[in-house]
Symmetry: C2
Subunit: 303 residues, 2 copies
Amino acid sequence: MSLLAIGSVAFDDVETPFGRRERALGGSATYFALGASRFHPVRIVAVVGEDFGPDQMRAFEGRPIDLQGLARVPGRSFHWKGAYGYDLNEARTLATELNVFATFHPDLPETYRQSPFLFLGNIDPVLQLDVVGQMAQRPRWIALDTMNYWIQSARPALERVLREVDILLVNDAEIRQLTEEHSLLKAYRRVQAMGPRILVVKRGEYGVALFTPEGVFGAPAYPLEEVFDPTGAGDTFAGGFLGYLAWMDRVDTTALKHATLVGSVMASFTVERFSTERLEQITQDDVRNRLSLFSDMIRVEDL
Amino acid sequence: MSLLAIGSVAFDDVETPFGRRERALGGSATYFALGASRFHPVRIVAVVGEDFGPDQMRAFEGRPIDLQGLARVPGRSFHWKGAYGYDLNEARTLATELNVFATFHPDLPETYRQSPFLFLGNIDPVLQLDVVGQMAQRPRWIALDTMNYWIQSARPALERVLREVDILLVNDAEIRQLTEEHSLLKAYRRVQAMGPRILVVKRGEYGVALFTPEGVFGAPAYPLEEVFDPTGAGDTFAGGFLGYLAWMDRVDTTALKHATLVGSVMASFTVERFSTERLEQITQDDVRNRLSLFSDMIRVEDL
């Protein structure tokens, strides 16, 4: 059993009303791996430049994260610069330097090609499709994240890869842009016609909506005193969500609901500090305690 | 046992991307009474003008809604005109004609002064306080709704009436404006210091967050295919919420969680059509069925 993730490993410059960080560890594959590896071994496929050194690698050490697929090539690593206002729901991108990511062509190590769970992080859908094509057999579960940029500029490729996907994870604006439907129930039917039979809509501080053929589930965000930096929340959510499903080795409605809670709890750690600062520090007890609190919080006796 | 509500009974002109209505029945007390009277008898205190006729009164007929406190005076009824864009979360007010509401001084009928549950709808906090003062004894539970206009222009009076209040029901923007805190957990502590020990944050399509001294609860909105007109959703929620609590005659955490689901379900009917069109038509079975679906939807087995 393994969970394979493709995405970015990057440096982020982030500014929020509560402070700033420069060249902090970031990237979708980074947050995903840190979130998922609490529950299940993860293999990542990504690329970094020569500026990615031991200080950055330390975040992955001592965890069940296979870095065989993390290519190191000449040049500088992917670099994102963004800022948030008091409404932490939306990032303003100030700069995106693709650097080594611009010419990245994922090449899966032989051992990776059997992974039963595959997460296609938010990158060019052409690359996402390429990765699917490199698998020795179709993974049992393929999940995909994308964003407004690809929906607008690469829709044909995105539609091709979506036909291969089981679980689509996006935010409110993205699902409405992709389906051209405001109602999420209608959007979900459009998504089903595109391929994915499960839709997860990430709504930041408003929580998560989960759509399955059996029905709809909504969970609030885990309530926090402070949100310092929302960067990586969505990828950490995806990591917790898929890490939990891979660990359970079961994708039914109950497991999906639980995975939603697990993803939300993992994301809640990410946003409490900048970058991966908190996510790296937490213990299994921290995760268990917060999951237990969250589970109590949303429990309702039958009406 | 009774549930007393003060608020507006009005004519609304509403335009949404899906259509428009002119001089449709509206007002906070109207929606509240229609939502609450499914569960418990309601008494309303409000004022209408000579233009409010049998066509409008029909909405209240055949329901346990006591209209003894609905004053009819010379002049025209309160008239609100608003529009919504595709983001149905926020109304744009085009006109507010207070008319008979401008000189409204609530005078509680003698029988009303014993009501154990009191809802102070979104009106001038000076009038809200006046109503509290007219009660023969302090109601067991006082709930209050307010809005940005009063928070900004009548804060001292609002703070005075809040000292008497048990349950505050507001939206995201209002709670942040009132407490000057972005974090809802911090905002809740500020609210507790102001008086109310229970806070209900209405978040439109994102559901409801409930804060009690025992913890936080979040429920999604009931998922709908179509939202035609969000006008009245908050007051219908308050009606379902307090009507259910009055019916249960119990305000503990379980009852409050259930009341949140009931309020959400009642509000879901309101927004499916314009004005009170759907809310007037539904049967007790419609309410029961939707409550049962909603309850199943959010149920999670223990992790």
